[in-house]
């Protein structure tokens, strides 16, 4: 670690994003973490990077950032801000009517220029077996420009046990196994290649009668990449990854 002069600290500030993304090499990380201990400013910066990532993911999940159109919750604005905004909008409309077409660029316009328009199709449901195939192709493929409005995944991954928790073909008294191995399950979408957790479901209660069902709203808003769909079973004392599938957004 170099002497904590301003320039060396600034060098570390540039690494914040890579550190949070887990992209630093072992030696870079060791040096960065020594700086982290020495500099609360750097620690605060890392904290903010995480907040930024989390905030963007959350806003995207809520549909506020779709294709760059910013749509925050309406209740957040105070009435006087709304009034001021209305006046500005009225002025902007007035001005824009005087301008030639294409003369004013908004966030949404710029994004539609960067990427082709997406077509939202009807919701899609996919049932996945408990045993993943040995093929080298993804279990689910979603084309980003023709993505469903929502993707519901129903993985058949709940192992049924006897009441005492044993996994038997036939339980005492000849009854079939009917108790889910874990009371709760959840699904995570993990971007491959050092990426981040792109989506996580809420916990879902398992039932012997109906399959698990996890719905990802607007899967097309996820970045083009390969993702692991990780299903985890959870009880009060125990947690286990029970299945892993492959989702490709292209």
């Amino acid at each position: 670690m170099k002497s904590p002069d301003h320039q060396s600290l600034e060098e570390q500030f540039r690494l914040v994003s890579r550190y949070v993304a887990g992209d630093l090499s072992r030696s870079e990380r060791a040096e960065f973490e020594a700086w982290l201990v020495a500099s609360p400013e750097l620690a605060a910066e890392v904290e903010m990077e995480r907040r930024l990532r989390r905030g963007i993911a959350s806003a995207a999940r809520r549909g506020w950032l779709r294709r760059g159109v910013l749509r925050p919750a309406a209740h957040h604005h105070r009435w006087h801000v709304a009034l001021a905004a209305s006046v500005l909008v009225a002025l902007a409309i007035g001005v824009s009517m005087k301008l030639p077409r294409g003369g004013v660029e908004g966030v949404a316009d710029s994004h539609t220029r960067l990427e082709p328009e997406r077509i939202l199709l009807a919701a899609r449901t996919v049932r996945l077996g408990s045993v993943r195939g040995v093929s080298t192709s993804p279990d689910i493929i979603v084309a980003r420009n023709e993505s469903p409005s929502s993707l519901t995944i129903e993985p058949d991954v709940v192992t049924l046990t006897c009441e005492d928790g044993s996994i038997e073909l036939e339980c005492p008294g000849g009854a079939p196994a009917q108790t889910p191995q874990y009371p709760e399950y959840e699904m995570e979408l993990v971007k491959r290649g050092g990426g981040s957790v792109a989506w996580r479901s809420s916990s879902q209660l398992a039932s012997a009668r109906s399959p698990l069902s996890f719905t990802i709203a607007d899967p097309g808003s996820l970045g083009v990449a390969d993702y692991d769909l990780v299903v985890r079973g959870r009880s009060a004392e125990h947690e286990e990854v029970v299945a892993r599938f492959w989702l490709r957004i292209d």
Binding site: Y19, L36, R50, L52, I56, A73, S196
Partner: protein
């Protein structure tokens, strides 16, 4: 109380290394946010109690400082970071042994990928954070900065590609990210200050408590 800058912390640690007990207390206060950060932002966050391990790390650091086996403040920083990471790794190993996560490749990957996770955030915090980010994007001065953030964080496009696409130098790219974080901090501090700060008062109290414990253990009285 604002945290001292890095060079001031180095001076505090240097004084602690000479046996100055007052400086030792200040050192514990000053190092705590950084050690906590290493633990909270490290790969094993999911499986550890960061507060507990911060305590443990600082105890080990104080013992080493008192034993005079570390001579340079910068070695103290590196030692603290390594100790924190090793303790986290051990805690995570212990936790995973108790579970049946047997796919080691998956465990590593999850450990890396779960860095973003912050389970301490409530739904309401999560929403406030999302609103703050939307405000941030709205207030960015140029369209290009907005594009950069959206494509980098949402679409996962890498820095090099984005720099090429938007005609930016890597330095400019870093500046945009740093400015964005700074603006986000301002917005959060105004709207939801609890999301912006380390629990500073806690760190002071804990450090004082630790010093008290050490004094009593080593000298029999305060």
């Amino acid at each position: 109380m604002t945290a001292p800058p890095a060079d001031e912390i180095e001076r505090i640690v240097a004084r602690a290394l000479t046996g100055d007990r007052q400086a030792e207390t200040r050192m514990l206060v000053a190092l705590r946010p950084g050690v906590l950060a290493v633990l909270r932002f490290g790969a094993f966050y999911r499986w550890i109690d960061a507060e507990d391990l911060t305590q443990e790390t600082l105890q080990i650091v104080v013992e080493r400082v008192r034993a005079r086996t570390l001579e340079d403040p910068r070695r103290v920083f590196a030692f603290a970071a390594t100790t924190a990471r090793n303790l986290a790794l051990n805690a995570a190993r212990k936790m995973l042994r108790q579970q049946t996560v047997v796919d080691s490749e998956l465990v590593d990957e999850l450990a890396q990928n779960l860095e973003m996770e912050q389970s301490e955030l409530t739904d309401s915090d999560d929403r406030q954070l999302a609103e703050a980010v939307v405000s941030l994007l709205e207030t960015l001065p140029t369209l290009r900065d907005r594009q950069l953030l959206m494509r980098f964080y949402m679409d996962g496009i890498d820095k090099q590609e984005l720099c090429r696409e938007l005609g930016l130098s890597p330095k400019h790219f870093d500046r945009v990210l740093m400015r964005a974080r700074s603006r986000l901090r301002t917005i959060i501090e105004r709207r939801a200050p609890h999301l912006a700060l380390f629990p500073r008062i806690t760190s002071i109290l804990v450090a004082l408590g630790m010093t008290f414990t050490f004094w009593v253990r080593h000298f029999g009285s305060w």
